[in-house]
């Protein structure tokens, strides 16, 4: 009996479903709605796992090709893929950290003047994963990892949006919404860099006309597909026919990269569908609780909510931060870094794009370019610090690029090392 209970409740899908169930009951929903919401959360998490294993397989093939081709470890900077890799071993700690993080966010928003409620659940999930991995790497128990990780996650969820708020007021012209996306250190930095070009603030990116085809990258699956196609073909050609054919089995060695690249994109699409499904009910409960119990709270929302205020800046930021990422790749090759961090298009689009919206709000197009370029450099170089830890824990071939994950992670890691 006991083993049954432990097995049941150490399953992350069950825990999340249970949480959704409690949330739905607390909101006094009808029985059918409660059941639908609970089941969908459970199904969503399982879909997430299926997407994760699809991505992992494609990523492992890429690793082999890249490593054999270039004799260096290539790491795709995609938090979805990195979380996918961690999911099978650390799913339990990660989901509990995520839930405690939500709860602690409410506590910090309630007792401090930082009234931000962080609603970008996908990002909280990836952050929970980063924190769990770092704490677990020092051999702490699950309980310690969950409590420590959850408190840190709750704190940054309430605190970091506050840093961006002065710029958010400029961008949106109000104080009702905050930004909720874990590159907030980078976004506020981009805003500050924009201040260097204060004089030219009027020369906004929105006065520039860009070729329409660039908006192709706005669909994140397109960005992912194009980059993965390039990466797979370059690596396969460099690794040569023999090695590629070994992996490809019965498939022709030049067809294999094509299928694998799109398999990666397909896995990502499945993964995000799962995330969307399992977060829907939990987020709804989170909204209901925060509106009821935390007066004056401000929702911190995903970055596309600032895109309407400066859509052209987003494209500028994508190009500028991706350029920074490619310069980073060249630099890491030339100076023989142990790993090369390969920028992922969708990260540069969302994160670099938002940095540009911030830079643009204070320094026009000059601020947008400079701000997102610096953000791009941070996205490229910061992950090299923590990669050895993640690599040792089996997270190979992909890592977490986001600035806040890495800055917080590096601080946490140095702190834990002191006590170790």
């Amino acid at each position: 009996m006991m083993t049954f209970i432990i097995s049941l409740f150490s399953n992350p899908a069950v825990i999340l479903a249970l949480f959704a169930f409690i949330g739905l009951i607390a909101q006094k929903k009808q029985m059918t709605e409660v059941l639908t919401g609970t089941f969908k959360t459970l199904i969503g998490f399982l879909i997430f796992g299926i997407g994760a294993s699809t991505m992992t397989t494609a990523l492992q093939n890429f690793n082999v090709l890249f490593q054999k081709g270039f004799h260096i470890t290539g790491v795709v900077a995609s938090p979805e893929a990195a979380t996918a890799l961690a999911q099978s071993h650390y799913g339990f700690v990660v989901s509990c950290t995520l839930l405690l993080g939500f709860a602690m966010n409410l506590v910090f928003a309630r007792i401090t003047p930082m009234k931000n409620i962080f609603f970008t659940g996908g990002h909280s999930l990836f952050f929970a994963c980063v924190l769990s991995l770092i704490i677990k790497s020092y051999g702490y128990s699950n309980t310690v990892a969950i409590i420590l990780g959850g408190v840190i996650l709750g704190f940054v969820s309430a605190a970091l949006p506050q840093l961006c708020q002065p710029f958010m007021r400029k961008i949106t012209g109000g104080d009702t919404q905050a930004i909720g996306h874990f590159n907030m250190l980078g976004y506020s930095l981009a805003g500050c860099i924009g201040l260097l070009f204060k004089k030219h603030r009027d020369q906004s990116t929105e006065k520039i006309k860009f070729p329409v085809w660039l908006s192709f990258f706005r669909d994140f699956l397109m960005g992912v597909s194009v980059i993965m196609l390039l990466l797979f073909y370059i690596s396969a050609l460099k690794a040569g026919k023999d090695i590629t054919q070994q992996l490809a089995g019965n498939t022709h060695w030049l067809v294999f990269p094509l299928i694998q690249a799109f398999m990666f994109a397909a896995g990502m699409s499945i993964l995000m569908t799962g995330v969307r499904m399992f977060l829907a009910e939990i987020t709804a409960a989170f909204v209901a609780i925060s509106e009821k119990f935390i007066p004056g709270s401000r929702p911190a929302l995903d970055v596309p909510t600032v895109f309407p205020y400066a859509p052209t800046a987003v494209i500028v930021g994508f190009l500028s931060s991706y350029t920074a990422g490619l310069i980073g790749v060249a630099f890491m090759f030339l100076f023989h870094f142990p790993v090369v961090i390969i920028p992922a298009a969708h990260i540069c689009f969302f994160s670099g794009g938002t940095a540009a919206v911030f830079g643009n709000s204070t320094g026009g197009w000059r601020g947008a370019i400079a701000g997102s370029f610096v953000a791009g450099l941070l996205l490229a170089f910061l992950p090299t610090v923590l990669y050895p830890i993640f690599g040792n824990m089996g997270i190979q071939g992909s890592t977490f690029p986001n600035i806040d994950y890495n800055v917080t992670g590096i601080l946490l890691n140095s702190l834990l090392r002191l006590f170790h």
């Binding site: 609603f119 009702t176 987020t283 895109f307 309407p308």
Partner: protein, 91 residues
Amino acid sequence: MHKALVACRAGVGSSLMLKIKVNEVIREHNLPIQVEHSSLDGIPGFDGDLLITLVDVAQELSKQGVKQQIIGIKNIVDKNEIYEKLNEFLN
């Protein structure tokens, strides 16, 4: 009863909040609209008559000749804006 789809680029962060807010508005004003949620990839298979998304996405979609009517919201936590635009659609 109208059927609406709330969608955004990746279909996770912003549209989830938008869906919650749209649902609140619908409940408060008793509007005859039923809401579903997905990413932009869900649009081709959607059989309802209304799409709700962010303004910049709405502009792109309208260029692509989507068959449904499209509402673009600028500030997704602004319930007045959502109400006005839903009302406009209903009339």
